[in-house]
Symmetry: C2
Subunit: 154 residues, 2 copies
Amino acid sequence: MSVDAGGAAAFSIGELARRASTKVETVRWYEREGLLPAPARTAGGHRAYTRAHLDRLAFVRHARELGFPLDDVRGLLALADHPERSCATADRIARAHLDAVRGRIARLRALEEELARMVADCGQGRVAECRVIEVLADHSHANCLHAGGHGGPE
Amino acid sequence: MSVDAGGAAAFSIGELARRASTKVETVRWYEREGLLPAPARTAGGHRAYTRAHLDRLAFVRHARELGFPLDDVRGLLALADHPERSCATADRIARAHLDAVRGRIARLRALEEELARMVADCGQGRVAECRVIEVLADHSHANCLHAGGHGGPE
DNA sequence: ATAGGACCTGTAGCGGCTACAGGTTCAAGG
DNA sequence: CCTTGAACCTGTAGCCGCTACAGGTCCTAT
């Protein structure tokens, strides 16, 4: 490693990705998207990361695992950089996301019920009597789920 | 309406979309994707649909509302066209989708719990003490959800 | 010196639409 | 018959969050 950033040991993108349980391409993509600062480079042009990059990447990954969209992650990162500010915004972002997750759960539960009914009623005979196909083709039935929500099923 | 398909009244793409609670662009897109057969055209080149198209579109929309991916929809459509075949495949597609939906629900529930804990613990003070930011930044915490599943959170 | 991995940039693709831009056709009113 | 203007046409680009190439360069171990 030929580049030294502030006395700390630097490591390659592959190493960073491995330590953060991510893929190399994802790391580069986060850099292009502005979620991860561009690191120093070695003489040959390879990226050289520090501990600070790893911490930031871990933050991003964890937020993503919790399902926060990248725009939310950007906001949360900006807050994490300013510990003296109020955390009301972080709280708002998290609550809004929680609401979104709950909404998705509710819609998926409705789906689950309908699908379970469909497969339970299927007599495993010919398509002509198949409950699955019948339900899908049935016109009168077509709007029972759609009526509730505004977006797609999930 | 200048085009007559087998004696039935034909209608425009706007009319079709309205009757199927869909958008015009989506109908054209389904045609490009091979989910909806290309209809006859008027002298001026406008699409002229029949009842059969509406039935097929309704089938597709209903399957989509139930969350079936388009590849599944293609398979289900192919089966619906052959009533004499066994419906085992339809049943298999529906069961696999049901499993997928249940998996997603389980993952979202885990998310919901973690998010709820985060926002419940947030004292609404400064970012420095914010539980939301803390949890996201916490390294030791980072893999508790990831450990369970194989894909993303949803 | 050389092999073969890891790295580089840039671009395209996934699903399932949605949203333009820039043009043509249709239906209703005068 | 002529004019409006809404609806239609094709084609292309964008959304999210990556992922997967292609075609090259660099680094490390033997």
